[in-house]
């Protein structure tokens, strides 16, 4: 990283504020793609995602003292998530999100039916990245965020729990439902095309 190199070469590490910026850059910037990716999936809009990622890094730098070590990725993604939720609120979508979640949790409850039948088709047709992204975009917010944190940001269950501020059990049930819903949407897509 050029910023890193130049700072060390100029030898200002020993100054407090410089050292903070230096440590922050080294720790946080490598995760920009992860932050931006989550922002894209949460906000479903390129311009908003860029704004959110930028705001996330500013907040993270301002509060870098509160980062208590360990893996920084979940800490950054938790901040990004807060930024995105503020954006939901600004869009006036918060009430919709909540309703959406409840009804979706109920709908997801009965996936694969109470009939006890065995799912027949076990091989999904391959789709390209755009098509898969469109399917993920259709998942309700709470399921989408858990699925993306797991499958795309590649966090562990415990890290996801840390990001969304919920117990690991909630992560597990949301992930199960997210995947059930996604598979359902995927099969429906195959039928339509």
């Amino acid at each position: 990283m050029t910023a890193h190199g130049s700072v060390v070469a100029e030898g200002r590490m020993v100054l407090g504020e410089d050292s903070k910026a230096q440590r922050f850059r080294a720790a946080a910037l490598p995760h920009l793609d992860d932050v931006y990716t989550l922002a894209r999936y949460l906000l479903r809009n390129t311009a908003d995602a860029e704004d959110a990622a930028q705001e996330c890094y500013l907040r993270a730098f301002r509060h870098f003292e509160t980062f208590r070590g360990g893996s920084i990725k979940p800490w950054l993604l938790a901040i990004l998530r807060n930024v995105c939720r503020a954006e939901y609120a600004r869009r006036g979508a918060l009430a919709v999100v909540t309703d959406d979640l409840d009804s979706a949790e109920q709908r997801a409850e009965g996936l694969w039916g109470e009939g006890g039948e065995t799912p027949e088709q076990s091989t999904l047709r391959r789709l390209d990245a755009d098509a898969v992204q469109r399917l993920i975009a259709r998942l309700p917010d709470a399921f989408r965020e858990t699925l993306v944190l797991r499958e795309i940001n590649e966090l562990s269950y415990r890290e996801i729990a840390e990001v969304i501020g919920a117990p690991v059990g909630t992560v597990m049930s949301r992930l199960a439902r997210a995947r059930a819903l996604l598979r359902d949407l995927w099969l429906a897509e195959e039928k339509d095309s």
Partner: protein
């Protein structure tokens, strides 16, 4: 294991998040249940179908440049002298900082995983019929039960007279290793005392932590790691340790 539990846990199996014991349980259920086996196959297939598909986004260069610009850069006005002095120190400081950061990251990752698994094991034990494999308030029944089941001799002492009733023992898994769980009860509170080898960092002194709303008090004794987990308050958990230590030394 029921189909309902499996429905959730098979995802943890796919994601490699299950400890060895539970992975075996899920696999055993799947082996005898066509419906759950089909689901597992279906989710594995979905994972295969998304593998190799680029679902990540790459941050635009413009965004990266903006963020780089906005994080305050090092101040420009520094004397030549300070600059040279800083240079020498800078090299040392950054190497030391990098080493300590790497050390802390590695250690904490494993340690927080161990703490998380300890809490999970405690929670599982609170589910019906999961608490004990050997149910006895007699330490002379519980202690030999571990013989041949685990490669260490856990200290088992009866603390009923001291207000902590011995309920029994159980074999559990933390960090992929078998551990002995000795179960005590105080009023309505369950205490799981996990005993294992090489669980987490060496502890020069007992350490009390609050994890997911539970207190974990852990310490080392004669090469073993002991972790007492409960929803009891800190004072009573420390009292438990004090009485346990006294009785273990006495017995």
């Amino acid at each position: 294991m029921t189909c309902e539990e499996t429905e959730i846990l098979l995802h943890a199996l796919i994601d490699n998040e299950l400890d060895a014991g539970h992975a075996r349980e899920v696999e055993a259920h799947v082996a005898t249940c066509a419906r759950c086996a089909a689901k597992l196959a279906a989710y594995r297939d979905m994972r295969d179908a998304t593998r190799g598909v680029t679902l990540r986004h790459v941050a635009p260069a413009k965004l990266r440049a903006t963020i780089e610009r906005e994080i305050p850069s090092p101040t420009r006005a520094t004397s030549r002298r300070a600059l040279l002095k800083g240079f020498a120190l800078g090299g040392v400081v950054s190497a030391a900082a990098a080493a300590s950061v790497a050390f802390v990251v590695v250690k904490q990752d494993r340690d927080s995983r161990i703490l998380g698994e300890t809490i999970s094991a405690h929670l599982r034990s609170l589910q019906a019929d999961h608490l004990t494999d050997v149910l006895s308030s007699d330490q002379h029944t519980v202690k030999p039960w571990f013989n041949g089941r685990i490669d260490l001799a856990p200290p088992v002492v009866d603390l009923t007279a001291q207000g902590f009733t011995l309920v029994g023992g159980r074999l559990d898994y933390i960090d992929g290793k078998p551990v002995a769980a000795i179960v005590y009860r105080r009023r309505v509170h369950v205490i799981n005392l996990f005993v294992g080898q090489g669980l987490g960092p060496p502890l020069p002194a007992p350490r009390l932590e609050m994890v997911q709303g539970f207190n974990i008090l852990r310490w080392n004794d004669q090469g073993l790691t002991l972790m007492a987990v409960s929803d009891l308050n800190r004072d009573e958990l420390e009292e438990f340790k004090a009485k346990f230590d006294a009785a273990a030394r006495g017995g």
